[in-house]
């Protein structure tokens, strides 16, 4: 199985969702991002690395600082999937509804016949 990074990997983790929210409003350096979390710098760096590989963050070196900038266009891929998947389930539930109506009707008819 391939381990290509896709945008869903970015949003699958709640910490990463928070990181995205943090920098969506304002580009920040790695240190100030890490300060918001109660976990090791290494753990945060790994999250940022994944987000970069998914195309959601771009890192800019400025002197000794590394600034993280959000690339939110990629998130539209997630919205696209959410809309499709939601519709898929709405359709499924409608099918299930029809199926349940049908089997309940058959049960009623079967009962009626046996009561004659």
């Amino acid at each position: 199985m391939e381990t290509r990074r896709d945008v869903f990997q970015a949003i699958a983790d709640p910490t990463r969702r928070e990181i995205i929210s943090l920098i969506a409003g304002k580009t920040q350096n790695l240190n100030s991002i890490a300060n918001n979390f109660d976990m090791t710098r290494q753990a945060i760096s790994l999250h940022i690395k994944i987000l970069t590989e998914c195309g959601l963050i771009a890192i800019r070196q400025q002197g000794r600082e590394r600034y993280c900038e959000a690339k939110l266009e990629k998130l539209s891929e997630v919205s696209a999937w959410v809309d499709q998947y939601k519709q898929f389930w709405v359709d499924n539930f409608n099918s299930l509804e029809k199926y349940l109506t049908k089997i309940q009707k058959h049960k009623k008819n079967a009962k009626r016949k046996s009561n004659r």
């Binding site: 896709d6 990997q9 090791t40 994944i50 539930f93 109506t101 309940q104």
Partner: protein
């Protein structure tokens, strides 16, 4: 219908439906091959159940066929509590029940975790679906966290203390 922010809370996607049927009937419709073949799957496709093992860690493997294409899908079940809970991981699949990329839906997650909860009131059953993508990276991260925790804890906490200390000093200058 709300326009959900795709990066909200603990579920990326929530769908609710109320069925005019008692809870056992609704639950059972998810639990046997004949029922699933009758309602599960995308519109316009004929569904064939290849395997159904309705229990935790069990496999539901199925084929979807239309005039234009054939696809396979699979569930791996998580927790199951009759009649109120069914969890499963959904993926596109192949003939051998492996995991594949979605054939033409793009982009699509490799694996999607789904939690179905059922509640009954006045003879009607409400089903709530909560769903989010999961993937290999999560497993990687989880094992990384687990390993770090066991042997790095001592070093980590002292590094943190040092960092805080340095911050304090710098702040006071």
């Amino acid at each position: 219908m709300q326009n959900a922010n795709p990066i909200d809370n603990d579920a990326v996607l929530v769908v609710t439906h109320e069925f005019s049927a008692p809870i056992n009937l609704v639950f059972n419709a998810h639990a046997d091959a004949e029922s699933l073949a009758a309602w599960w799957g995308p519109v316009g496709y004929k569904l064939t159940v290849l395997k159904l093992d309705f229990k935790p860690k069990g496999l539901f493997h199925y084929k979807m066929e239309s005039d234009e294409r054939v696809m396979w899908g699979r569930f791996i079940y998580g927790q199951i509590k009759k009649p109120e809970l069914i969890e499963f991981t959904l993926s596109f699949s192949d003939e051998k029940a492996g995991i594949t990329r979605a054939p033409f839906f793009n982009p699509w997650p490799l694996e999607i975790f789904n939690v179905l909860t059922l509640t009954e009131k006045n003879g009607k059953t409400t089903v709530t679906l909560k769903s989010y993508p999961i993937n290999a990276t999560e497993k990687e991260l989880a094992s990384y966290r687990a390993n770090r925790h066991s042997f790095n804890q001592g070093i980590t906490s002292s590094m943190k203390a040092l960092e805080l200390h340095l911050k304090k000093i710098m702040h006071n200058q």
